[in-house]
């Protein structure tokens, strides 16, 4: 039986979908048998990011009982499998999110990992996403509104019998007004699984004709590197990329040195090295 993990946050816009897509790709690149599910049945953004928004059979059809789950599984990049959600508002109104748990149970034995990209908030579809998985990864940005929301999500997850694995801090700029990873970890009583720096490469994923996740465009981008570390940690695999190669030469090393000198946050400069698996 594979692991089912919900990627949730409480707050919208913190990068759940990007992390879910890139994490799935990173796992698949390591040969892990992974299936991504766009569990955001109202706002199907993962389907957009993977360019599968016009798939003929979607999770909507499965939850409506109009298609089998096997018919809604598509081939994604690097051998990962993907179950898209539909864009239809009519179907969204008709869908019974309670059925999601049964659907996930059906496919769980076929994969090492089933990752669900959950909606924001703590409404019914979020509850369905959390309740249909055994574990969850909590995504937050290092500011108090995001931490407040992820805190509530953690409480909801525990209430639903789900085990929160840890927090992924995303869009970290290593500025002094940010909430540090030690503080987040202490408050959440959970480990910080990854610290993903703010990266224009990640932000540019949607800024093109066809959206392309950063893991498919630039493996050496700083966000890609941290996602690869996150994937390795999650799957219990050794980190495989060359840290020196990823640093991009002397100029980059000098810039990195200055950045760590003037960033002003005690996390600064450690973000890349601390995630030892």
């Amino acid at each position: 039986m594979g692991r089912s993990i919900a990627i949730v946050s409480g707050k919208g816009g913190v990068g759940k979908t990007s992390i879910c897509a890139n994490l799935g790709i990173a796992l698949a690149q390591r040969g892990v048998n992974v299936c991504l599910v766009d569990a955001d049945i109202a706002m199907a953004n993962l389907s957009l990011l993977l360019g599968m928004q016009s798939s003929p059979i979607t999770l909507h059809d499965v939850l409506l009982g109009e298609a089998g789950i096997q018919d809604a599984i598509y081939d994604g990049p690097n051998g990962l499998k993907f179950i898209p959600s539909g864009l239809s508002l009519e179907n969204y109104r008709r869908v019974d999110a309670d059925r999601l748990a049964t659907v996930i149970k059906t496919i769980q034995s076929k994969f090492d990992f089933v990752l669900l990209d959950g909606p924001a908030g703590i409404e019914k579809s979020v509850l369905a996403t959390i309740a249909s998985t055994e574990e969850c990864l909590l995504i937050a940005t290092p500011d108090s509104p995001s931490i407040a929301d992820v805190l509530k999500t953690k409480i909801v997850a525990q209430r639903l019998g789900n085990k929160p694995l840890g927090v992924v801090l995303n869009m970290v700029r290593f500025e002094k007004g940010e909430i540090g990873k030690e503080e987040v970890s202490r408050m959440m009583e959970l480990p910080v699984y990854a610290t993903i720096p703010y990266d224009d490469e990640m932000r540019h994923s949607f800024q093109r004709d066809k959206a392309v996740p950063v893991m498919l465009r630039n493996l050496q981008a700083k966000s890609s590197i941290e996602v690869q570390k996150l994937a390795a940690r999650l799957a219990g695999l050794p980190v495989q990329f060359d840290e020196k190669k990823s640093s991009g030469g002397i100029l980059s090393s000098i810039l990195h040195f200055f950045a760590s000198l003037f960033g002003g946050n005690k996390n600064n400069g450690k973000g890349m090295e601390e995630m030892k698996v």
Partner: protein, 154 residues
């Protein structure tokens, strides 16, 4: 590319030296969040069913939990005077089940409360709360209580 990086460094140096941005970790907000978290800790490690349902009430943010048999006799309740609630709830559920055999949950809204009546493992659960819970939440609440009852010889 080089120019952009140099610009970024210069900006960092300027910010650092002149302290142009008065950013601080929001300690007051952190205190508030810590306080919020401390209010959501529940002790479910108990051998008393009465203590368990009281904790479940807090955990699931509901006002009362009444579990009764299909004939209306109370199994356990968070309120002492729930006899009428158990009898009315079970009678209502039995009636609706005869009319709509596939009904899973009955939701009743009065002026101040929601009543959620549903069967689980041969018992009828009557949950009262200020807002309605989803079927997922109700099932998980019942599952937790049932697993306690099972572990403690019903």
């Amino acid at each position: 590319m080089v120019f952009r990086n140099v610009k970024r460094i210069m900006r960092s140096v300027t910010k650092r030296v002149l302290d142009v941005e008065d950013n601080r970790t929001p300690q007051e907000q952190m205190k508030l969040l810590n306080n919020f978290l401390s209010r959501h800790k529940f002790e479910l490690n108990t051998s008393s069913i009465q203590d368990l349902v009281q904790s479940m009430k807090k955990k699931h943010l509901v006002d009362s939990i009444c579990i009764c048999s299909p004939n209306g006799s109370i199994v356990i309740s968070t309120d002492e005077n729930d006899f009428s609630e158990a009898i009315i709830g079970s009678a209502m559920f039995n009636y609706i089940r005869t009319e709509l055999p596939e009904s899973e949950t009955i939701l009743v809204k009065d002026k101040e409360n929601w009543f959620m009546i549903f069967p689980y493992n041969g018992k009828i659960y009557i949950i009262r709360a200020a807002s309605d819970l989803t079927r997922i939440e109700l099932q998980i609440l019942a599952k937790e209580i049932e697993s306690f009852l099972k572990g403690h010889g019903d």
